[in-house]
Symmetry: C2
Subunit: 157 residues, 2 copies
């Protein structure tokens, strides 16, 4: 394995946190009703997609740190925009704390995430961020189709 | 700067190439007509989004390797699905070659990408991949709204 450094632990965390700020803006941009009732082509609502993201990020990191293989639960009891944003904000410091607790030498060790996805930890973490970008991009389309301008993709502050 | 290793150069490249394979499947999944004519909410067609991706990946890497700050040109003369896929496939070996030519010690040096985006090279490269995931996620919604099942998000082979 090459030891060339593309990305440090801290850089990865900052990259992820920047994406989380943008995703939070997208949740905020939805009207309450459409957040929970609107979707395109039989897909999930953006509230449902947000719950998926919430059920992966902090719980997944918790599993990685504890080497726990408990499954995920996407169906979180969060039924208002306020509740989704509150959980989003509560999870951020937990994510920072948990991420910082992953020993540097462990990023290339395997972890059977949620008892289902056995990959190196770095790969699990990339999946968390990729999946967030993917679903948030879908939220952008929902917003546009509702006539609402989404935040800029590069707004990560 | 921490020297903790999250991701090696080779791992990053493989991660990106896996995403490119998935994006190629999404281009393929569109019917010819809808690839060039269909969009939601005043957005760009998936052909236009694909041209943006094509105009960033290989040209951006070329700029990074040559430290050239020439601007991008999204409006590529590619007017059929076949032409888009052909360019996609032609770019892949170029991307591999160019990426491998970035010296390991340069990933944290700044480059003024396309004469506009002055960030460390690792950050430019993350943007390439993030932007591809973002727009591809939008393509998933277009496909779903056309009644076409997109490929699985985790299909990177």
């Amino acid at each position: 394995m090459s030891t060339a450094l593309v990305l440090t632990k801290q850089e990865f965390l900052e990259h992820w946190l920047g994406h989380r700020k943008l995703t939070r803006r997208v949740i905020e941009a939805f009207p309450e009703k459409e957040l929970f009732n609107y979707a395109i082509g039989g897909m999930r609502t953006f509230a449902e997609l947000t719950k998926e993201l919430l059920s992966i990020a902090e719980p997944g990191l918790r599993g990685i740190v504890a080497r726990d293989e408990e499954g995920y639960q996407h169906n979180l009891p969060l039924d208002t925009k306020e509740a989704l944003l509150k959980r989003w904000d509560e999870d951020t410091p937990k994510i920072i704390d948990l991420f910082n607790r992953i020993p540097e030498e462990d990023f290339h060790k395997e972890h059977n995430l949620f008892g289902e996805y056995k990959f190196p930890i770095y790969s699990n973490l990339l999946y968390f961020v990729d999946n967030e970008i993917h679903h948030r991009g879908q939220g952008f389309v929902y917003l546009r189709s509702l006539g609402i301008e989404p935040p800029h993709f590069w707004e990560r502050f």
